[in-house]
Amino acid sequence: MAIEPDNAYHLRHFLTTEDLSGGAIGEILDTAESFISVGEREIKKVPLLRGKTIVNLFFEASTRTRTTFEIAGKRLSADIININTSVSSTQKGESLLDTVRNLEAMHTDLFVVRHPLSGAADLIARSVPKHVHVVNAGDGRHAHPTQGLLDMFTIRRYKGDFRRLTVAIVGDVLHSRVARSQIHALTALGTKEVRVVGPRSLLPAAVESLGVSAHTDMETGLAGADVVIMLRLQFERMSGALIPSAGEYFSLYGLTRERLARADKDAIVMHPGPMNRGLEIASDVADGPQSVILPQVTNGIAVRMAILARLAGASAGEGRTS
């Protein structure tokens, strides 16, 4: 997917972590840090996006992402409309843009889009007028950049300087848009070592070209890691048998307490959710002292507030053209 080299396009939309520098990511995380305090107040609201309309346009199931976007928008005083719809393969393309045009005619200022097709958010971003912003909330296997950044925010809060960290991303990397967004962000931030760990059948063919090392063995993959990111096994995206059985997968790649002991003793355990307990992660690890899975959810609100506020602020002074 080609990205316009136009700089203004990058400022108006948030579609991928690929084009973000370490400095740009740091700025977003700093803004998010200041939004954390809003969630801790008696009145959890600031008037920044008062009068703006945000449409959550979800063509794929989501609870966490949609809800945290909704809360983020509401804490910024925007009006949020949720549209959840499934898309059949015959309705792709034109009907997607028609839907968007209709919503645009209702004076929507910002779209948060999730779609099973890679590139859907980018397609919408190219079609909307200048004052309208698009946030990618997950497109196919391509990217889930707000999840990627909330994970960076969580790592920075617990572990500090990325240049000293070894991060292991474990599991179904092949089908994971989250992993792609994480890898780009981790690399941009200068992370010391990024590993992907999983069976060969679930690692992308040339994953090393992204600047990571590939491990098919949990023992070596987790050794000394400061951050362990578990990914969900995405059966809905698998065509054919990529893993022999759930039980065998867990016995080889499930994160148990014994396996976690291979990582640094202060390592944190992350998971973007939803978790398959007993499949990729053992319950006592998911609920254990090293798990930061629930703080990830809380942090997601502040990071999404930061992204929404920065986009809405990027069209400052332009005004509506319609």
Binding site: E27, T31, S34, P47, L48
Partner: protein
């Protein structure tokens, strides 16, 4: 030229009559926090002072966007029913003070808010006047006055084109 220490002494003097109300000081980032810290010391207050970053409450967000380096508002003590002295470096249009008061009311309902500023200049756009002031100055509309600091505190007057 303005003598900062002299103006500061006048602010501290002016705030003395508020002491018996056991005021809570709240400084507005960044210059207002520096003044609030000096005032806090000058009055010998024990309770910590609060700090406000009004970036999320500005009325010009739709024109200038979000500041990338927003500082965190920090109000360490409950403000309900308390007498607040809101502290800023320069009172100009009054818009910053309007935003700061809106933010304070999102935290609590204080008993009163008084305004202390180091420098009062002309150019008010809202009905906001200080209760305590260090020095008044008249400037041309295109001139901009800025507190530098925190140590030592200084004043810079800039032409807008600068």
């Amino acid at each position: 030229m303005i003598d900062v220490e002299e103006a500061l002494a006048r602010v501290i003097d002016g705030a003395r009559s508020f002491r018996e109300r056991k005021p809570v000081l709240i400084g507005i980032h960044t210059g207002g926090v520096w003044i609030a810290e000096r005032l806090h010391k000058g009055l010998g207050l024990v309770e910590p002072l609060g700090t406000l970053d009004i970036s999320f409450y500005r009325d010009d967000f739709s024109r200038v966007g979000i500041h990338p380096q927003v500082k965190t508002s920090h109000l360490p003590i409950p403000l309900d029913g308390r007498h607040i002295i809101l502290v800023d470096d320069v009172l100009h249009t009054g818009r910053t003070i309007r935003a700061a008061m809106n933010e304070i009311f999102d935290f609590a309902r204080p008993a009163s808010i008084a305004l202390a500023v180091l420098i009062v200049r002309d150019g008010r756009e809202l009905p906001v006047q200080p209760d305590i002031a260090g020095v008044a100055i008249s400037l041309k509309p295109w001139q901009h006055i800025k507190l530098t600091g925190p140590d030592p505190l200084g004043i810079r007057i800039m032409e807008k084109s600068e």
